[in-house]
Every structure is written in structure tokens, then in C-alpha cells.
């Protein structure tokens, strides 16, 4: 790494960094820090934070569990219409979040396509429950995991998997011992993105799971409602969200990526 090269790289990376960095700096700068403690001490805030953390983690885990096989099929099984399926998988990203919520209601709501069976048969009402929050978050976050992971799988040298099999590794072992570790960078990126998306999710959640304090009110919902009345407090709450996500991403990533690679 010559200094010149470093300088050029930095110069090229600067506009992008500025685009993300400046608004954050501005937010921090404008935030009414004096009122931060008061706002965080408000009864709903901590509950919302807790729910946000738990539900987004569960949702991220679900995207991995549900998305990995999907990504694998997309990357490895050649079938007609694969491109179409890939485009369809991207849809929750395109769908305006509120429409996403409506779609979820139509499918999994009390009178929904599948929801009516869940409701009548299993007594499982998803809307207005924390499970509904997780479902909404998983729905919007899934595409990020699937597409990122699929790209990672495509870049992988499948001959290494062949080599593992000749050494006696079953498909499952190949996946666990070879595919997964080699996929780690992509999987980590996809999981980080989908976790972040789940953490920040607002529209689909409020539409599908509602906004019941202490039950389905996540931090973004609290932020939104705060914004209605008191934009300043919304900024502080947003920054709390940001701080939490930075802490988790910096903290987790190390453990988790290393854990996968080990």
C-alpha cells in the first residue's frame, strides 16, 4: 500500500462516506442532548428499545434460517424461471412498507388468505402480537439476506465442496465445514443488512402488527410517533437506535464472523 494509492482510494471513497456521514453528524449536532435522559426515561422508550432489539435479532436469525436454503437453491439449482423468482424475492424491498404491511395483513391477518386458517385452526393471531412484529421484520429483511448470500454462493469454488465430499463429508457436513465458512463474508454482510433493516423497520410493522405499547411498539414506531408531536425527541430516539446498532454491529461482527470461520 503506497501512500499515493491510499490517498487516491480515500479521495474516491470520500463522497460516499460524506453522503452517509454528514446527515449523521448533522443529526448528532442538532440533537437536544439536554433532554436525552428525560426522553429515554419515558416509560415507553426502554420497552420499545428492548422489543426492537429482541424482535430484530429473532427476525435476523429467521432470515438466515429461511433465506439460506432459498439462496442455495437460487445459486445451485438451475430451473426455468429462476430469474423471475429472484426478481420476486426482491419485492419486499420495492413494496412501500405500508403496502408490505397491507400485503401481510391480506395474507396472514385474521381474515387473510392463510391467516384465517391460522386464526381459526390454531388460534394463532399474528397481528397485534410480538410474533407479528417479527414476521413483518423478517418479511422486509429476507431479500437482503437471500440476494447477498446467493451472490456469495455463486462466487464460491464448488470444487472445494467436491474435495470435501471425496474426503467423506456428507452434504450437511460439506455445508457446515466448507460452504458456510467460505460464505462467511457474504453471509455476515447479508445478516448485518437484514438485521439493520429489521431494526429500522417501521411501515410494515405498524400496519401489520399495530402499535400496542409494550407489546408491538418498536423503537422506530416510537420515533415516528414522537416525530408527530415532538421532532426533537424523535432525533434523540433515532440516535439511540443508531448507537445501539453500531454497538451491536461492531460487537457482534467480530464474534460471529470469527465463530463461523474458526
Amino acid at each position: 500500500m503506497t501512500p499515493r494509492r491510499g490517498a487516491l482510494a480515500l479521495a474516491l471513497a470520500l463522497p460516499g462516506a460524506a453522503l452517509v456521514g454528514l446527515p449523521l453528524v448533522a443529526l448528532v449536532w442538532k440533537a437536544p442532548w439536554s433532554r436525552a435522559i428525560e426522553l429515554l426515561a419515558a416509560p415507553g422508550a426502554l420497552a420499545a428499545l428492548r422489543l426492537s432489539l429482541v424482535s430484530s435479532m429473532v427476525a435476523a436469525a429467521l432470515t438466515v434460517v429461511l433465506g439460506l436454503p432459498l439462496a442455495w437453491v437460487q445459486a445451485r439449482v438451475a430451473y426455468r424461471g429462476r430469474g423471475l423468482v429472484r426478481a420476486l424475492i426482491t419485492l419486499p424491498v420495492v413494496l412501500p412498507p405500508v403496502s408490505g404491511g397491507v400485503a401481510l395483513l391480506v395474507a396472514f391477518g385474521r381474515r387473510g388468505l392463510v391467516g384465517q386458517w391460522l386464526d381459526r385452526g390454531l388460534g394463532l393471531g399474528l397481528p397485534f402480537t410480538p410474533a407479528g412484529v417479527v414476521l413483518a421484520q423478517t418479511f422486509v429483511a429476507l431479500p437482503f439476506l437471500v440476494l447477498t448470500t446467493e451472490a456469495g454462493l455463486r462466487a464460491l469454488d464448488t470444487r472445494l465442496e467436491d474435495a470435501a465430499r471425496t474426503l467423506g463429508a456428507s452434504r450437511a457436513e460439506v455445508f457446515r465445514r466448507v460452504t458456510l465458512p467460505l460464505l462467511a463474508p457474504s453471509l455476515a454482510a447479508g445478516a448485518a443488512l437484514s438485521w439493520a433493516r429489521a431494526l429500522g423497520e417501521f411501515g410494515a410493522t405498524i400496519t401489520f402488527a399495530g402499535n400496542v405499547a409494550g407489546r408491538t411498539q418498536t423503537l422506530p414506531l416510537a420515533v415516528f410517533l414522537a416525530l408527530q408531536g415532538d421532532p426533537e425527541s424523535a432525533v434523540v430516539l433515532s440516535l439511540v437506535l443508531v448507537g445501539v446498532s453500531v454497538a451491536v454491529l461492531v460487537g457482534l461482527r467480530r464474534h460471529w464472523v470469527l465463530g463461523l470461520v474458526r
Partner: protein
């Protein structure tokens, strides 16, 4: 539009609360028809967003706001106190209603029933104007709703009831009308009723004061009030506008 004196159309920018969407779209085109040479740009967003944007400097420059119409007095009052708007006028009112799915499966008979355990109730969050009015109604009736879903807007309340997720909710009368039969309304006793007020004002420092005044006047004129009445709004004074 048409030609202004400098050969170009005058662009009048109106910031309006999202709940006014349908009415203001008609008002804007009617106004344009009545005033050749003026084009109306509508910026429609939630009232808090409008207020925040105006505070952040959306008053001049690339898209100066000339007129602002909010869904409640409190928000407008913030702008007045900041010296950003001329004295506002109320141009419409609205009434609350209890909305239920067609056929009223929850058997809701009035405000008192909203406190019934087991009934799923969606209410607008007190952070938005409709939520504040709703809270007032419930307080006056002495009803406490157990675990309502606090929706971010009154439209979200309507959507939830339409899709059958909630058995009842409190919305504006205009919302029931807009739902075209997908919602039924349960009458709210006059005592419990709260009337929502919609104020509008011209911006201080607008470069098109005449056009701005003209628009405010148009909304308050008979043809303007007719449009608002068509959307279910009540006239500002409380009695229907003469046709």
C-alpha cells in the same frame, strides 16, 4: 395554467395535510381553472412533517411554500408563534365517528362499547390530531380502552378496520365517506362529539401574496366549500354552506 406578466405561469405552492388530499386536489384544479396564469403545486404530507419542513427552511428558495393548511390548530399555532405565517383562518371542520366493519360484527353500539374487554379497537395515536380528539371523546365519555392499537394516522385506523383486524375504531366522518361502503359508521352522541378544525394561512414573506390570498379566499368561497362538503367536511362556522 396560463401566462403571468413575465410570460411564465405563477407557481403557487400549497403545503397541505395528507388527510386533505382528495379535496385539495380538486380545489387546486378548480382554482387553476378560475385563475389562468397560476399553477398550484400541492405538497401533501402529514401535518408534523409539514411543520418540520417549514421550520427547516422550506419557506423560500427552490420550492417556497406560499400557503399552508394543517389538520389541527396546535400545529398551526407553532407556525404562528414562530412568526412564519400570517394570522390563520379556519376553512373546514370535521366530526369524529366510530367506524366498524360492514355489518358491525363486534356489535358496537356507541362510545361506551369501546371499553368492552375482548373487542379489538384501533385508535389514532395522541401524537396526531385525530388521536388527541379521540382521547378527548373517550375522556368525556369516561371510557378507557384496554390495549388499543395506537395507529400512526387516522387512515391507518380505517385500513385496519376495513381489513377486519379491528372491530372498531374512531375516525373522521370524512374517512367513512371515503371508504365507499367498506366501513360502517356508528353514531356518536352529540355531547361526546368533538369538532376538528382545519386552519390555513399564507406564509410570511411569500413572493406571491396576491395569489396566496386568492387561494385562501377560494377555499373559503362557496365553490370551495362545496368541494370540501363533497368530501364530508363541515363548514367552518358550523352550519352548512349555502349552495
Amino acid at each position: 395554467g396560463g401566462e403571468g406578466h413575465d410570460g411564465r405561469a405563477t407557481r403557487l405552492t400549497v403545503f397541505a395535510a395528507a388527510s386533505l388530499t382528495e379535496a385539495f386536489e380538486v380545489l387546486a384544479s378548480d382554482f387553476e381553472a378560475a385563475h389562468p396564469g397560476i399553477d398550484v403545486d400541492l405538497h401533501l404530507a402529514g401535518t408534523p412533517t409539514l411543520v418540520f419542513q417549514l421550520q427547516q427552511g422550506a419557506t423560500a428558495g427552490s420550492l417556497p411554500a406560499d400557503v399552508v393548511a394543517t389538520a389541527d390548530d396546535a400545529s398551526m399555532q407553532e407556525l404562528v408563534e414562530a412568526g412564519m405565517v400570517a394570522p390563520p383562518v379556519v376553512f373546514a371542520r370535521n366530526r369524529l365517528a366510530i367506524a366498524v366493519p360492514p355489518g358491525n360484527p363486534g356489535g358496537v353500539g356507541g362510545v361506551g362499547d369501546l371499553g368492552r374487554p375482548g373487542l379489538r379497537v384501533a385508535l389514532a395515536d395522541p401524537a396526531v390530531p385525530a388521536g388527541r380528539y379521540t382521547a378527548e371523546v373517550l375522556a368525556r365519555a369516561g371510557v378507557e380502552v384496554p390495549r388499543p392499537s395506537r395507529e400512526p394516522s387516522v387512515k391507518a385506523v380505517a385500513t385496519r378496520i376495513e381489513l377486519g383486524e379491528a372491530d372498531a375504531g374512531v375516525v373522521y366522518a370524512t374517512d367513512v365517506r371515503a371508504a365507499r361502503g367498506r366501513l360502517d359508521a356508528v353514531h356518536i352522541l352529540a355531547d361526546d362529539d368533538v369538532v376538528a378544525r382545519y386552519p390555513m394561512a399564507t406564509m410570511v414573506g411569500t413572493e406571491r401574496p396576491e395569489a396566496a390570498e386568492a387561494f385562501v379566499a377560494f377555499v373559503r368561497s362557496a365553490p370551495g366549500q362545496e368541494v370540501l362538503a363533497g368530501a364530508g367536511f363541515l363548514p367552518p362556522a358550523g352550519e352548512p354552506v349555502a349552495g
